[in-house]
Every structure is written in C-alpha cells, then in structure tokens.
Symmetry: D4
Subunit: 244 residues, 8 copies
C-alpha cells in the first residue's frame, strides 16, 4: 500500500464510499502481513518511497511466489524480484504471469515513465550484469537510465567523448571493478550526485571487489557515495531516494 492508495482509502471513508469497518479491516493488514514464513512489509512504500523488493537467494520457490502475490494483492506499486534463480522465476511467474524478466530480475506492475535523467556508466563489459540489475530496478520505477558503456579510465578519451551526457544528469551511477578509478574521474567531471558501485570483476589483487570498494571510499573526488560490492539493486534504490 503506497501513499496514494492510503489517501484514496481515507477519501473513500470520508465520502462514505467505504465503511469505516472495512477501512479498519484493510488497515489492520498494516504494518505487515504475516505469511508464517515471512512478514511482508506493506508500510515500506510509505516509509521508504519504494515497495519491499523480494531478494531471491535462500528462499523456497513457493515462498517467493507467495510473497510476490501478497505484494501484488495488497499494494499498488511496482514489485521487484531480484537475484532469482530459474525455479524461483518460474514459480513467481506461474502465480503472477505478467512479470517482465530482465536477467535475474523480474518486475511486475512497473511504474509509469518518469522524466529524470540517470546516467549509468560502466567501466568494462564484465560489469554489465551488475549494471543490468540496477537498470531493471530503475525501470520498475519508471526511470530508463542512459547507458555509458566500456568507459574505463585506461582509455580516458572514451569517457571524455561523452562528457556532455554527464552534464545534464540528475544522478550518475558508476559501476566498476578492478581498481574502480572510473568513479573518481567521473566524480571530477560532474556536479550531480555520484553513486559508486564496486564490482567483483577482476582477479588477484582485485580481491573480489574489495579493492574497488576501498578505492571508491578513498576517492580524491569529493562527495562520492558508495554502495556494497555488486549491489546494483542498492544503487538503484539510492538513486530513487535522490530523485524522490
């Protein structure tokens, strides 16, 4: 139940369209619905501006399906399933067929398009899966990001060639593994908020993304913020908070 739905309900009570007893019954579902194996948080969209996404790993396929169904039934905004494996995707879509699959993400009831400009910048082709998760979550909320791919700093002219794309951005998301230097360079080129996403791309001294994470946190470009390794979902949520 998002804010609009709540206001509609209260209007309906005031206008007499809904009986107070029925409104109470519906509101009693709040703040969460206890499914036994999980407690679905319907207030989240009120509190955090976005519905509870369902994180796949470690959940039984039938539980995934049930949580998605609950969110679709009781709420009114977009529903997102992330990092789902094939059996989870199948179970969730069997119960709710109109989910759109993008990689390991599934989106139901996507929001209407929004006009803000989010630039999603990746250092190498191996960073694309993380960027794709980010783009799918943004898309669920109506934001179609502008992609800047393969912009690693070892060929800094490739980035500079597109520098005007950065200028008009409301939010910039930089996805990079290895040494993560792209975030520093981008941070120096734009006045927009920059969200840096370290990826586990690379080997040896990349330490499964820890090097990029540390480098982004220690960046000489002022005002970068960072999310966890490979956390494309978190970066999208952070961007949505900023777009508000």
């Amino acid at each position: 139940m998002d804010e609009a739905a709540l206001q509609r309900l209260l209007e309906d009570v005031r206008s007499g369209a809904v009986h107070p007893d029925d409104a109470v019954a519906e509101l009693r579902r709040l703040p969460f619905a206890d499914l036994g194996f999980a407690r679905v948080d319907h207030h989240r969209s009120l509190r955090q501006g976005m519905p509870e996404a369902v994180y796949g790993p470690g959940k039984a396929p039938e539980h995934v399906a049930a949580i998605v169904t609950e969110l679709l039934t009781a709420g009114s905004g977009p529903v997102v399933l992330t990092r789902a494996d094939e059996t989870q995707v199948a179970a969730a879509r069997r119960a709710n067929p109109d989910g759109r699959v993008q990689g390991t993400t599934v989106v139901w009831r996507p929001a209407a398009p929004r006009p803000e400009r989010v630039v999603l910048c990746t250092a190498g082709t191996a960073d694309l899966p993380v960027a794709d998760e980010c783009a799918a979550v943004l898309g669920a909320h109506g934001v179609e990001p502008i992609r800047l791919t393969d912009a690693g700093v070892a060929g800094v002219h490739r980035l500079l060639a597109d520098v005007e794309v950065l200028d008009g951005a409301d939010v910039v998301i930089v996805v990079a593994g290895m040494e993560g230097a792209l975030a520093s360079v981008v941070g120096g080129l734009t006045a927009a908020p920059v969200i840096a996403v370290p990826t586990s791309v690379g080997y040896g001294a990349g330490l499964q993304g820890v090097t990029a994470l540390l480098a982004m946190l220690a960046s000489c470009a002022a005002g970068l913020t960072v999310v966890g390794i490979d956390n494309g979902y978190g970066a999208a949520c952070a961007a949505l908070r900023m777009l508000k």
Copy 2:
C-alpha cells in the same frame, strides 16, 4: 570562479563592460592556477558545484595560506579549509582574517542561507567531531543542518521520539561508530536519501571504523550510500550534490 561569476563575465563582454582581451586574460587562469607547490583548480565549482576545499594535513602553513588567498582572489564562492592544525589556521587567517573557525574547519565567504532540510543524526557524543566537520562544510554553502544527537539504537525510543523530523528531510546524514546500526534503522524510517558516515569511535572489534563501514555497506535497509571513515567533509559534499 563559479558558474554565476562566469556568466557575469560573459555578460560583461557582450555589453562591452569588459574588453575581450581582459576577459581572455581572466579566463586564461583557467582551468587552474599553478602556484609552484600546488595547482589551484578554479574550474571545480563549474564541474562539481563546489569550490576546491583545502585539506590541511601535510601542507606547510604558508602554502595553506597562499592557496586560500588564491581561491578567495580568483573565485567568488565559499572557501573551506579542513582538518587544519593551529599553525595552519593562524597562517590562513593572518592572510585572510575573516575566516570563521569551527573546530578544525575554517570557512571564508560563506554562501547565503538555503532552505533545504538536511538532518544530521549522530549515534553518540563521541561522534560529534565528525558531525561538526560535516555541519561546518554544509554551513559554508548556506545549509544549516537540523541536529539529532545521541540517538543510538540501544535506546531506539530516543530515535522514534523524533521520527517526524526525519519525515520532512531532503537529505539525512547518519554519523555513527561502533556497529553503525543507526544507519540501518534510520534508513528504514525515511524515504529521503541517507548518507552514512562511519566513524572510528569505539575500540576492540570496532577496528577504527572498519566495522561500522562494513556494516553500513551491508545494511539491510535498501538505498543507503556510504562515505569513508570519519569523512564528515565528504558527506557534506555528497549532500550538496544531492540538493543541487
């Protein structure tokens, strides 16, 4: 030289108030002024929306003073000196007396007050120096943050008592050491962007802030972003990018 100053200059050229040769001379300073021991970056406010702050540690007092002077002479926005020791503060203010000292930060030519609401939330009294640096930098740009102090999660009712303060925020900054759990709880209570600042407060398993840093990055609250340990300056810059 910030964007407004640049536009004024170009207007003056168009109107004839400034001769093109003089405009060129002034613009030639761009993109940076080479002082020999440092290259002062006057384009930064154009590119990043804020002037280059002077980071004190490791710089000779006379160099600090000269860089501040250069920034005040050639630019038109606020100038900030951070993490300065006493001799650096003295040297910089001898050369430019009207700097306002707040802890180890000095601000010259602060911007006019702005109306945005930034909530600055601290877990314990020992986190205050980091929060103070953050507040001083925000203040230099005209933003007076609303403070929520001593809101550690071990007494979560103290935080809940002020939850309506969070509701209206444009940006929330959470400064916390030890296990940094305050960021997760705050992130769950607001739809605003949340910038988490881990501090090196605590001992033993706090690992000089690494524990809080990791915990904030691994937070179960979606859409948190994180800056480096004790980096109150960076959090302020990130907030300013978001307000922009």
Copy 3:
C-alpha cells in the same frame, strides 16, 4: 553418563543392588570410551551439563553411527548429531532408528519439556537454517523456543510489534546476517541475556558473516555476547548453560 545416572549407580552400590566390582567396571569407562577412531567423552554431561554432540563434517558414516551408538548405550541423556549429510544421517539412523531429523540435525532420546522461555529472533528468511539448527538442539534438551521471524531493523516496527514477547524471556537468541543490527536493537529492548549469532547471509561487504560478527561484538548495547558465524549449535549450548 549424566549426573542422575551416576547418582543412581552409587545408590545401587550402597543398597547392594550393584556389586562394587561391577560399578568399578562401569565407572572405568570413564572418563571416556576409546573407539579407536574416536574417544567418546562420557563425562561431558557431568562437566558441561550436556552430552557430547556429534559434529558430522569430515567423519565417515560408519564412525558417526558408532559414536551415536556408544553415546546412547553408555549414557542416559539426549544425543545430537549436527551438520550431517544424507549418508551420515542414514547410517546413524540405520543403527539407531528412532532419531528425529530436523534439517541437518538428528536428535535421539530428547529430554522432557522444560518451562523456560527462550526467544529465537531472526532478521530475514535466509537466516532460518541457522536458527533451525539452534532450535533443534534446544529441543533435544526440552526447550521449545518462541520464534520471532523476519524482524529486520529496516522495518523496526515489525520488531516493536512483538516487543512484549521479549519482556518475559529468560534468554534471547538473535540470528542475523548482513550488518547484524538486529542484535543491537534487541539488546536495547530487553534485560534478558542476549546471545548474538552472526550468519554468513548476504554478499559483497557482508564478507561471509565477518561484518555481522564484528558489528555484534562492537554493539552499543551493553552486555551482548556473541558466538561464531552460523553457529546455531553453539548458541543453543550457551543458552542451555544460562538456563541450567
């Protein structure tokens, strides 16, 4: 051989029901029985208040079966097999058919129900396997824990809705991965002993449970204690020591 069995034996010697030579023979098994590949510790229940559990990984199935048999034959309390794979479970139950399987735990000869209240609190659904191991071991000793599931701090109201459950607890066990903040919040809400169990749930900056572990150790809630990562068994044993 637990304390009750030992007292019975000595009573039998005093009453003449058991000949001293036979008592000596039985006691000579103490303090342990050497099976060649393992030395089964029958004194543990005397010393530590619980029998030696059999930890599955790395043991041959026939050895697992033999150790369980020895513990059932020579002792009189509950016997627990943990982290057993399928072939170990099969071998142990072939030799001793009445073992109750719960996940990867098997319990023989469970103790009679006890009245103490242990609250077992989990942050997310992915933490359930660790909590289940903990519950199985508690159940072997007659303690049926009260479960609080899906109580992550990003929706702190879900936890507060059940706060009265915490009030009457003798011991509270908190199982949480990611940033482990649930332990701090729970620790601030109850005067009972709190045992925090970090789990390896999460990815990236969760560092396979190290982040939760460090966060729990650095908690701002006074008097938390912590066990090893994913150590549901250890948490149960700690709770049993406290209930004593």
Copy 4:
C-alpha cells in the same frame, strides 16, 4: 529510575502519598532527559536491568560531571563511569564526591551485596586491568567476583588446582590475551555460562587481541560466548543479565 523506584512511585500514587500530577511530572522525564549535549536514558534500567553507564573517552569533563549528576538525581540505582581519564574523574567527583574510584572506573551509589557466585579468571598478570574494570562494574551492582589469577594454560595444573571453585559458579568470566586458550579449557571444565573476554595483551601474532577473539569464537568448547576485545565492562553487563 529502576523498576523498584517505579513501583514505589506507583504505590505512592495509589496510597495518596504522591499526587497524580507530581507522578506525571516525574514520569514525564521519561524516557530520557535531554541535556543539550547528551540525552540521558532513564528507562534503560527498566529495559535492560542496569542504568546507563557513562563511557568516558571523547567527552568533555564538565559533560561527564553533568551526566553523572543527572543520573544520580533522577534515578535510584548504581551509576558507573568507565574509562575515565584523570580530569574526568576529578570533575565528576567534584560534583558528586562519594564516587569510589577503581582504576579508570568510578562507582556511585553501589547496590547492596548479592549472593551469586561469579568467577573471574585471568590468564596472566597483564590481563588484570581488563579484569579490574569488569570487577568494578560487577561490584557496582553488588556482585563481588571470586578471582582466579595467573591461570594460563601453559601450566594447566595451576588451573586444575582450583577446579572446584569453577564447579559452584553461576557465571564464569575468562579474561585472556595471546592465544586465549584458557577460555576453551575452562569451558570444558564447567557447566556454568562462560563469558570469554579477549584482551589486547601480547605482541606480534596476537594482533592486538584479534587472535584471542577469533580463537575464543572458534573454540571447541561448546556454548562459550564472547564479548569485544578488552571489554571488561561488557562482560560484567552480560553476567548481570544472566544473573538477573
């Protein structure tokens, strides 16, 4: 305000000794008193069974004194100041002269003696400062721990000589640095709850207490629980929760 004081107040209202308005005024102080620089949590003894201790590091001496005064004025249980430096101790005792100093801990209004047996076991003489902090906090709540000093496992007979002391314990606290093996051996000798406190004693591979911390968490003795490095205060609080 602890539970007893609250009950007394309510009794006084019922008996007419206190006017409801006055009771309300007093209760309104709850749940915390905002001193401007700190918010003193008077509900903590209700929620956690012990008053908020004042942690010295990073606080101004006059703030320390004011918080202690507030706690003594508005509450009725013991008040503890920990890790205080000399100027903090002096300021706090100038305002409240009857504080008892033990090392870097100060205790006001200690509770009446309690009969429970807490055994406080240290591996080497260098672990004593941590044990002393623990003992001072226990003493503030009326528990005088039984000390077992210099019981390192390299001379395990020294420990075995006192094994009967362990047998009657309600709680055992083990304070050890270096490899922390004492916790494992003690954990194998007693059925009581064992709280292990790693210390930063040792050099080289001791890694400032991290080795002892890890070793205690990985202990082969089932049911140990662990607190943070050098955290004698936390161990005392954990013991008090268990004694409850």
Copy 5:
C-alpha cells in the same frame, strides 16, 4: 643420491671398483637432473637430510611418474609423492609399482625403522587427514609415530590421561584446527620440541585455519614452533630435521 651413496661411490673410486670417468659421469648428474619440464634436485638429501618429495597438485600425471622414476633411479633413499590425485597415483605406480599408498601420499623405498619416539597428537577426528599425511612422510623415513587422537582441550582430562606418553617423546607434533588451543596445553606439559600444525578444520571464525595459525604463533607456552596450515608434510620434515 644421499650421503651414504656418495661415500660409497668415492670409496669405490679409491678401491678401483669404479673408474674415475664413470664416477665423474655419475657425479655430473649433480646437482640436479634437467628433465625439460622439471629439474630434479639430487643434492637435496645431502643438503637437507631428506630427498626431494614430489608435490602433486598442478603436475601432469606423466611428469609425476617421470620425476619419481628419476629419483628412484639416480638416488638411494626414500621417495615420497604427496597430495596426489588418483590419476597421478596411477601413473606413478604404473611406472614404479611398489609404491605404498596412504591416503593421498605414496611412498617408495621406505627407510629402515628408526627408534626415535615422535608423538603425533590430534585434537579432533576431522584433523586426521593432515595427521595421516604427516605420519606417512615420517614412515617413509622409518619413524612410526605414536598417535594420540581426539585429545581436544574441551575435555582436557582425555589428554592428561596420556600425559606420560608425552614425557618420553623426542618430538611432539600437535595437529589442531578451530582455536588450536591443544598446542598450548601440550607445550606446557612436555619439555620436548613441539611442532604445531594448524588445520583448516572448523567454520565461521576459524577462517580456514588462520585462527588456529595465529593462536599457535601467539601461544603462551614458550618454545612452540609452527608450520603452515594443513602442512602435515612440512611438520614431518621439521621433525626429521630435529631427529637428524
């Protein structure tokens, strides 16, 4: 070629049984034989008192076989193949059929039995594979170790029951995972050299053997020495150096 073989060769030259040219040809093989893909070090037994063992991982089966053959042909002491997989074992034994297989170790031409007493002490059954590798290498050199199994410190009486075995030892090897405390306790009970072998047994805070490694290095028992994690082979070589 070990020292005895070298002396025999030189005696044969002196007595005329071997022509100097032939001796030169044989000695020219020294200090190593270049097989193209590897350089077999025949001087090692002269320099280090033991022949070059063949470490399996990463070597092609036919290379393993060829190196073993070269060592058997050109030398005269025991030959050991360690950490071999099945195809390596098969290839090596097809070429040299009389190798004795013990776990993942194969021994050819074992030395005659030696009388020294090496005690090989393990903490748990999961440590046995590392101890078995150690025992196989010792056995190749004629030393049959005395085994003390399942002697973990959580039941320290099991160890004390066999303390006299330790007394007569020339060398004691302690193999332990988890917190590795067994090494400290054994080190306090014997005057013999103690070689501690940390194992990767355990989970969570055991950190794949790093915890045991650090604990052994930080041990309070003076004069312990440590080898690498799971390095049963290295411990055997160290013992052989000490027995000389």
Copy 6:
C-alpha cells in the same frame, strides 16, 4: 591502428595515393569503434605501444569474436585474446581462423621477431601456466623469452648454475608462488629491470598469492617492481613497455 599504420596513411595522403576524404573516414573510426556492446579502442597502440588485448572472462563468445574481428580489420598489429574458455576460442577462430592457441591465450597476426633478451624465470612447475600466458603475449609482439624453470630458492644452486643467463638480460620476469623469495634472490643477481609476478600457487599460509605479493613488494632487493597475482599478461605488457 598502430603508429606505423598511421604514418603510412598520412604519407599516402601527402602522395595523393589516398584521398583526404577517405583518410578522414578512416580516421573517424578513431579513437574507438562503438560495437554497441563494447567500444574498441584503436588508439591504444598509439598511446600505449600495444593493441587492446581482449580479456575473455565474462564476455559472450560472439562478442569476443566480433571484437577480435574489429581489431584485425581496423588495425595492423598483433591481436591477443587472453583467459579464453573453449567456446570463446572456438568462436573467435571460426571468425578468424589463423589464430595461434597457446593454453588459454590466442594470438593473431604476431609481430616479427625482435632481438631483445627477456628472461622468464619460474620457481616451480605449478607456476608454469602463468609463465605460459606471459610468454604467449611476449611472443605475439615478437619476443621469444628465455626460460629458466624450476629455480626455487630451496635449491639455490640450481639458480646459480644459470646465473650468466641473467647477466645479459634486457628484462627479467620472475614468476613465483608460495613465499616468492625467488624474486629477491634474482633481484640481487642482476642489474636488469626485474618484474615480479606473484602466483596463487601454494596453500594455507600462501593465501592465494597474497603472501608472495606482499613478500615481493617488501623485498630487500632494491628496484624490483611487481604486478598483480597470476598476472602473466600484465608482466608481458610491462616488459614490452620497457623494451619499447
């Protein structure tokens, strides 16, 4: 397009052999060709002295093939595919059949042989795959390295036997795992530039190459430089930069 090709093009324009419009069309491809899924950097050989190698992991086989084709079509120097799996190799060679496969590396259009002496020194047979990748990349640019294999420092005479090979070297590359000491010894024996490549060979305390990496960085031999763990490709590139 490497420097020679660029100069030829410009000569052709000057001589009239190529029309300026055609030259512009070709140059417009610069600085990179955007294939949609990747941006191929044709200027790299101008800037860095070597063409962009294609790093296999994480790329779709058809993308690998397309990038290789683009590099072969638009440039004129050697093209290298590294860390390719079997399907990537097959796809790339189906499109461009004359690639030479060496392990997981494929080379097209190798450069003519060059006379410089690069010595490639390995500590053990398990280091060979990393050295082979290095040799394949060197060979693509016409440099056939001189191999010194199995030169571990535990038999330092094997290295000293070939010391004169080191003397004439233009560059020495040392590939070693475990403790990486070979780099220090080699660095002390030659005045040539020494590039140290740590490998993930070894177990336990080798920490997947981190130990060798740290040891090489901390080497007592002055003037060593180091590349990332297992980075044979990077070492080859570094050597090529030095040979220029």
Copy 7:
C-alpha cells in the same frame, strides 16, 4: 626447582640428611607459589626443561622484583627477565644485584656453558635487537650462539661465503624482516632444524612483520618452523627444547 634439585632432595630424604617433614614442606611449594599478584610456577623446569621467564611489559616493578626473588630463592636454574624497561631492571637488580643486563633482557644464575652449536643468522642490522634477545636467553642456558650477521638474500654470496658454518649446526635460527626470504635460502642449505623468526623490520608492504611471517610459513624449503613476530625469546626456547 629443576629436575636435579628434586633428585637431590629425594636422595637427601633417603640418606636421612633431610627429614621427610621438611621435604614435604619444601615440596608443598609445588606446583606453584602464590604471591597474591602472581602464581610462580616452580614445576615448569620439570615439565618444560626451562624455568619460567618473567615477561616484563605490564608488570609493576616491585612485582617483577618479587617474582625474580621467588624464582631465585625456591629454584636452582637460570632466571630470565625479558622486555624489561629501565625501572623494572633497576627494581629487579636492587633486590638481586648479580643479574647480567643484555639490552632489555636480564639473566641471573646463568647455566654452565654447553657445547652444542646454534647458528643465529640475521638478514639486516635492524634485525639485531630481536637476535640479541634470543642470544641472551640462549646464553642464560649456557649456549653461546654463532652469529651470521647481515646475510640478506639480495647479496646471496655473503651467505654462501659462510655456508660451512651452517653445515655443522645443531640448530639454525634465522631472524629476518621485510620479505623474510633468508629463511627459505638457509633452509635449502642445511639439514639442521631451522627456526624462522619474522621481525617487524621494514615499512609499507612489510605490514609490521606479517609479510615475513606469512612468507616463512609458506616457504618452499621443507621443514622450516616459525615462531611469532619479533619473538627472539620464543626462538631461543624452541632451540633449547631441540638441544635438550
């Protein structure tokens, strides 16, 4: 009380020179003397072949003096005080004037000279303080080590020039910081037991001795053993165990 003293006492009882009651009184001191602040372990020389050394750090000077006095009064072997600061040395020698000071080590009642050959090998001059502590402890037990100084592997010929010194050694101790490669090279040159002592010498990637520690543990030279960082005392004790 060492083994010889114990035998003398028992002989005196048998011969009648000492009355059994007096022997009992003396033996009752065993196994340790409780000084209140410390428990002095007189059995250690029986169990471990060397008296308890007094480790200075963290002990009050008067306690140091009292422990030394107790050890001198009740025992009969050498007494060693290590890592003592000036006031500890002064206090201990005021009470027991004939202690010989060597750096931060003091030795009383040194043993008679012994003939075994211990070679003490250091990589650089900065490693000398650790080697000196080792030599002082060896000297207390009658062993005068042979020193090989400044034998770093960057100039391996300096080591090879003295290789015959290594040949006759009973034990070799290698003290090295930075990358610790000296241990590997020495381990390859001798058949004697080699004890490696990593030191905290070096900076940057030396990580305060961790790099040398890891490198020594991962050494390719078979049969090295390692003690903790900077632990010259431990290395001496290990050598004494081996000489036994």
Copy 8:
C-alpha cells in the same frame, strides 16, 4: 667498487702498474667488507648497477657513519643514505662532510648528469615527501626528473594539460595515495614504462596506503608495475634499472 674501477684495476695489473699481490689484496675485500656490525657489499654495483644505499632506521649513528665511509673509501660511485634522522645525518656528514642533504636523504659523490627523461608525477601535495626521496636517489645517479605535481584525477584536465610531457618520457613514475587512480589514467596515456608508488596519504578507507597499493595492482591499464607503499627509493632504483 663498480665495473669501471674493476676494469681499471685489471688494466693496471696487465700494464704492471699494480703488483698482482696488491690486486689480490684489494680484490680480497670482495665481495664484501665485514665491519663487525655490518657487511658492506661492494659487489652490488657490479651485480645490480647501483651501490648499496644505507637505510637509516634502526642503525646507530656511528654505524651509519662508518658504513658510509667504507662505501666512499672502497668504491667509486654515488653513495646514498635514506630515511636518516638528524643524528644520523650529523654523524655521517661529520665523517664525510660533502654529503648533500635533501629531506631525509643524503647523497655523496653524485654521478654526472644523464640525458634520459624520467617524469615524476604526484597526485597531491601530501605525496611530495615520497616523491622527493625518489628524486634525490635519481639525482644521485645523474637523473634530474621532470616533475608533474598536483595532478589528481578529480581534475583530470590538469593532467591532460601536460600530456605531451608524458609522451617523450623514458620512464614515468606515479606517486599517489588515497585511491591511487592517477596511475591508471597515466598508464592509459603513455607507452613508456610506468612505475606506480602507492603512498600512505589519506585516512579512513585509505588504510595507510593499502588501498592505493591494491588499486594500482588491480589497474585496468596494462603493463603498470608497482613498488611498496611510500617506497620512493625503490621506485628510483627500478627506474635506474630500466634506464640501464
């Protein structure tokens, strides 16, 4: 004794100017001179192309002076003292007055100027001390580096403004702390060998230079090589090896 001096000596023997006995006496000094407390390595310039530098920390001032004197007396090339404190500098220059002091480095008998172009690039003013050490060592060997200061990537145009300086370089040295991204960007702009020097500049997530170190090792720019943290001396030696 460098190569030229050795050749002169041998010419003098051939011409009769030096008697063979005298030559032998002089050569006998080789390969090192044993000063008792140190063994000065005169062959190093023969083997490594540069004389042994004297590393100050941990050496007694009189030892520093004596080693410098020995190197000046017996050799013929430049002599460098690094990381010297004031008393070491004073002692060394009292004995050998003509040493040139640059920061904590002292140079005697500098080599004649050489024409090669070494570019020394620093990210921030706080990196200058490390760069200065590097420049002093280069200068001792006749190489005057070209400095590019304050070229951090957050203002990448400052670097691009000087890109032509990079083009003509024989070697480029990049000195950077924080996230070390400058090395990647420079590595992408030049075909010259690039030596990256991480510095301990920065705080929090910079981890005393470890972040920059890891980032440089994981760089996406092919063919970077890296030296230890703050190791300006090592970078200079590496550059000299490359210039040869």
